[in-house]
Symmetry: C3
């Protein structure tokens, strides 16, 4: 049984242009002001998931929610809005998750201990619901009511938690001759390139590795921070999400090898030693 | 007579680079902390109105404020800052509007029921007012004082509400041979192209329409959501602002026809049926 | 002796992509919810300091903090994260500053009256501290604890305030034949170009000046606001940070002279009078 929360978090692909995020805040604020005498903290965890990239949104939710206390956690990356995909709310481990049932919530729900109860969002929608903006018209009002203490089952019909959409994690392919093939999953504002792989893929590479993409091959250091290499040089490291990543000290790794973007396949192999090297 | 509010909303063209928005929050926070024991909620409805586009700012304020409760509603899209245009506060329908008197507030004030009282912002400005940043030095302090219960007439001289600047809405031109000419008013972060026209312009178009711009002509489906067409295909629909809009399923409509941008003229006409079609 | 604050401000170069800022808020919120019954206001003063530009970050902190009340003021522009540069907290003039000891805090600390006490951030770090994200793992938790009333010395060893890193302000070079050479320090979202120089550099220029860069020479008006010149024309003025700046009325000054960017050297000289002019 859910009691009230005083925290709502958002992870979306809305960006900040067009006023989408402002609408979410306005809708939550209006409902909370009507129903509750206490404040609800709203945290915009991330509104810059790459557009309509459900997998990256799911990874982002999982990682960012590791730093939040329990609350109502809304995710909206929703290429199927207006179609038959289900809008849902899910109880898991003392948290509530709200969003489209397209796999976006799956990793975060699992990290919280797995879905205990789930409902379709059928009631307390905004009047005049638009076809293409469930964030504002369905998910934000549900989140606001849940934050004020509404029970899950007041929002709509219960559904089998086992029926919720699952999602595959990014795969690391071991290569026959040693090393791995991974995918780029994220490029941040500094140009750091994050791979869909944990720290262990770096442990077999020694202190210098080759990175091979469709754009060519580059030999880089394997280290632990930007400052391990000279300004302008590249380094493979474990980033702050505990993922393998490529960075350039005071530069943009995303511009290496003709450009690295989410989805690109990348091979990481141990660099051959120069003849005569120790 | 205005009593205190605990909500301040912002719609501006400041963007988030340069610290302009941070300044607004700092100024409001400092005044509220001095004058009041209660919290004021600040909602950044939209800081990405296209630079200096007063008409689009006015439309954005009107639409976003439809989702807020009554508060102090600040708008700043202000190409005339530092000239003789008047800084004003306006009471309308239990809300207070604050901004430049250049038409920006007009649609939102009308939607709230029309201006009942208006004043020039002459007092409670920040000391050392800069010439080019009335958002920080004039509008934010006025909003903070109003949120804490200050009456409109304490801020400056009353002016005739009928003297406030008006603004023309975007015009839909019917075409002689059927269909309409409209203007692009907004492109959002997904590349969706919004027209300055309501849902009715789509009702005469049947299920396929031709879109003609300076860049060429394209035949597209008329539908209700992205998912009505295959990935990469375009569809005319009614968007979440209840405006006619052009979208591409999992793509960017703004890149069609050589690029669609705010201000572009666009003709929407019924697509001719192929010979022998039903 | 520091007591509790209910304000935390941030100036960083994180941008909003990648969820870095969301992490900061989540960490602060979780600690504050654990330790305190009252709300802490978080103000995002600026997350768009140009990446790794410590000097501009320091200027931005100093300017923006002039508009805030006393609080815990976090700055993160940190190219040396993961190296031996020290993470610190500093008491100055009733405010607390938190960030890397690389000069970023220097101007703001001086403006507050100078450092009175300083400590290394050694305790209350997040468990599993990453190598490259001290904003989340070191500075945000320190700020949250300080906002809840923790004393500086509970966070780590005291260090000599005189040992804190200093920073040189941008230099204005007088030119032999009159006028000055300055540096571009900032381009904002409107394309306004701010120089590292105060209002006095404009006072010797008369009403028309020549601007010379590597890209060429341009003659512009010297005025006080955009509206002093026709649409599309450039004007030198004192901007809202009280710095000399170049703007274009309803246009982008940053696109003049082949492009103006932070770091560019710019000469400002009085324009020669036309033959026969008064």
């Amino acid at each position: 049984v859910t009691s009230g929360y005083d925290l709502i978090t958002f992870v979306t692909d809305y960006g900040l242009e067009g006023g989408f995020v402002g609408s979410l805040h306005a809708v939550v604020d209006q409902i909370v002001a009507d129903r509750s005498s206490s404040q609800v903290r709203i945290i915009d965890l991330d509104h810059f998931v790459p557009p309509q990239d459900v997998l990256l949104g799911a990874l982002r939710m999982e990682r960012l929610l590791a730093y939040t206390r329990a609350g109502v956690h809304v995710g909206v990356v929703d290429p199927g809005v207006g179609t038959s995909r289900r809008p849902v709310a899910v109880n898991a481990g003392g948290r509530v998750f709200v969003g489209p049932d397209n796999g976006l919530l799956a990793f975060a729900v699992d990290a919280a201990g797995g879905a205990e109860q789930a409902v379709l969002l059928e009631r307390y929608l905004l009047p005049h619901r638009a076809v293409t903006f469930d964030g504002r018209d369905v998910f934000a009002p549900a989140a606001a009511h849940l934050a004020c203490g509404m029970q899950l089952r007041e929002l709509g019909s219960e559904i089998d938690p086992a029926s919720l959409q699952r999602l595959e994690r990014p795969v690391v392919h071991p290569l026959a001759g040693g090393g791995v093939e991974v995918r780029v999953v994220q490029v941040d504002g500094f140009g750091n390139v994050q791979f869909g792989a944990g720290p262990t893929v770096l442990s077999g590479l020694g202190d210098r590795a080759e990175i091979t993409t469709a754009g060519g091959t580059l030999t880089v250091a394997v280290g632990s921070t930007f400052g391990d290499v000279a300004a302008g040089e590249a380094v493979l490291l474990v980033d702050s999400d505990a993922c393998a990543a490529l960075s350039v000290n005071q530069g943009r790794a995303s511009e290496l090898l003709g450009g690295l973007r989410p989805g690109d396949a990348v091979r990481l192999t141990e660099a051959p030693r120069a003849a005569g090297a120790r």
